[in-house]
Symmetry: C2
Subunit: 426 residues, 2 copies
């Protein structure tokens, strides 16, 4: 007895149906006597088929179903149904139908991959002894100090007595937990009120974040980032080969075979200062002139990744003045840096960001004082007063990860329900 969504129907001496229950890209072919045909047995309808599963005579499939009865459970009004039979709809087209696009092949494959990658991330951390923490969504902190926060209200009053915002990162809360469990991670939604229509930004997106106590080197952090990337990607490649193939065949043919290569080699590491030198010596001119002390722009990231051979590249030790208060002072000079790391990847740019955190009370205190933030972060200073340890961590943008491994150009196509400025459908 097969309950399924009917995806394709063709006619000859036999009636052929392609039915699919969403568990894989491949449909099951149903062969039936034309007498079983019904008027409402159309593309997009839901059916119940009873019959015999037999070895298929065709090369393209292992099994087929010889139908004895076919019942249309839910008909489909094909004239107004926006998905059409045998058509490969562009991603931009199906994006207009957030309630139906999951029934297209591409989004179906994407969401299965997303589900496997999610499970893979949980397994990776669990297998390595990390405690999973649900860091809060509503918070009274602004971790990144970027100011691009969504505020929360109930009829204009402060429900929480203090201004409350949607979190931009679970890092500070993870640091609390790393003081009890040594290795912790979180994987949940984060928010940015950025008024951007970029193909790399969403107002609501998912981040994997990890925090490790008792580590004194960025190398340790980078090792976890690289292991996470490689382990989850291997899982996805082995669990969803056909779904991944769809992307590497139709969406990003250049990606084909690349990923397997990347998994075999160590990621590259260069320092921020080296990066600036590479950019200065570049034969091309940039819109933003590369200069020590300035942020790396998208055009710079692109060039660096190309320069290194279109592979993932860690850039380490960024200028002190560019980075948030919690990053660990390298105490170098005159080019003063912090122990920060970004992972740049082809096509996407920044995939991960991490750092050692400033665990030394006097350093942190004076930095917060200069920023006038001592009162707000008294609790954060407390963590350095009661058994502080060298520690560090990182965050990986989950949607950017999916964009990169699948070669999907627009971030709106790798999340079930994209939210961005001027759009919150459903």
């Amino acid at each position: 007895l097969f309950f399924s969504f009917c995806f394709l129907l063709s006619l000859f001496f036999f009636l052929f149906l392609h039915i699919n229950d969403g568990s894989s890209l491949e449909s099951l072919q149903v062969v039936a006597d034309p007498s079983l045909e019904k008027r409402d047995l159309t593309f997009g309808s839901a059916v119940e088929v009873q019959g015999k599963l037999v070895k298929s005579p065709h090369r393209m499939q292992n099994m087929e179903l010889q139908a004895e009865t076919i019942r249309v459970v839910g008909p489909c009004d094909i004239w107004s149904f926006p998905l059409k039979m045998k058509e490969r709809h562009p991603l931009e087209y199906v994006r207009q139908f957030p309630h139906l696009r999951c029934r297209s092949n591409t989004l179906g494959a994407l969401l299965r991959i997303r589900s496997e990658a999610t499970a893979g991330i949980h397994s990776f951390f669990q297998d390595n002894g990390y405690v999973h923490i649900h860091t809060p969504i509503i918070t009274s902190n602004d971790c990144e100090g970027a100011g691009e926060l969504f505020q929360i209200g109930v009829k204009k009053t402060h429900f929480f007595s203090v201004p409350a915002f949607l979190t931009v990162s679970g890092q500070l809360h993870l640091e609390v937990m790393a003081g009890a469990f040594t290795h912790v991670f979180t994987f949940g939604p984060t928010f940015r009120a950025e008024n951007s229509q970029s193909r790399r930004h969403l107002a609501e997106f998912y981040m994997v974040e990890a925090e490790l106590s008792f580590t004194e080197s960025l190398q340790d952090i980078m090792q976890v980032m690289e292991d996470l990337f490689k382990t989850v990607t291997s899982t996805v490649l082995s669990k969803c080969p056909h779904d991944v193939e769809l992307f590497h065949k139709y969406i990003a043919p250049a990606q084909k075979g690349r990923l397997e290569q990347i998994l075999k080699h160590k990621f590259m590491i260069i320092s921020y200062s080296e990066a600036v030198e590479i950019l200065k010596q570049a034969p091309q001119t940039f819109t933003f002139k590369p200069e020590w002390g300035c942020d790396l722009q998208t055009e710079h990231e692109k060039y660096l990744v190309k320069h290194c051979g279109e592979v993932p590249v860690f850039v380490v030790n960024y200028p002190y003045d560019l980075k948030p208060f919690y990053m660990r002072d390298n105490e170098d000079g005159p080019q003063h840096t912090v122990a920060a790391v970004d992972l740049l990847v082809p096509g996407v740019g920044e995939l991960c960001g991490g750092s050692l955190r400033e665990e030394r009370l006097p350093f942190l205190k004076s930095r917060l004082q200069r920023l006038g933030l001592t009162d707000a972060y008294q609790w954060y200073l407390d963590l350095r007063k009661f058994g502080s340890v060298p520690h560090g961590g990182f965050g990986m943008g989950f949607e950017r990860y999916l964009q990169y491994i699948l070669g999907v150009d627009n971030i709106k196509d790798v999340i079930p329900f994209p939210r961005f400025s001027h759009s919150c459908l459903l």
Copy 2:
């Protein structure tokens, strides 16, 4: 080489340290020569100990560490550190220190259990072929129609062009996905702007939600609810025996052994109408008089659970007029009901809620019309136009689940960072 947080220190002819890295409730005992003592080697400090792991002569532990060197990585100001050595601090006390309470035994145990339960939930659904969906946090819908929504703003403008809210349930979005993948689940934060100081309510809490296509009976839904509960609880009991024991020993002694009993028996099922009859015949008087057509109050739920022997009880088929628009009409009468189910458990009350969804276009259309919601839910009606199938699902409150299995009275003590009215610490 052991890096760890130092939890206890005592002195005799030997120096004894109890160190703990958060991976389990039990600490590792370190035995050292008194000459290794240092002034800042105190309770709460972080230490690095080098030495030999040997079989312990004591009955209470398997191994101990014979220290050769001890280094204090981070001292602890014990005078201002709110946690004291060898003290069992009440949960209310440690609640004041959201950034430090994870270092108490009770919260440590709780958060390890929470992490294992989280992994168990993901495994349960993955093992049963469900696709995991990240349903959105920000939404333009109000699934429950309860009106207790947090609104989101950026400097008083509509960032999304429409009013946007924090989700109260991922159900409607899961229904979209159940139309493509048959079985789907989500596990994420949900929000309620309820001005309540109740020990069972939070403004931000976690829900596990599942949706199943091609099901025509509440029985199927209840089976998944019961399997989920039993599988995850078994996992927790086998993976965290000592952590669970702490709760059943010190927090809720009455719970000891109960859980194992509950796992062995089928959950009970009664109808709403039967429940009302039981309440009417109760020898006690209620503040709210039990009456067919009225909501079950906490006092009623308590009595029903007690009446059934302090075990989990499914209550099915609630009055049509009590429930949201999406629940399936049972077309009975004169006591008109919908195919809804609540799971009541001792001490907590409602743990899960579920229903069959109205998959029939004319029924849904006329109900939405009467509520004046046709325009807002056009997309939801679409799902019934294009291959609609009988389906249903449920949600389980994750914090209430933890409260129940561990016997924790206050919901604020089973979540890392509780948010409720007038409180958003950190």
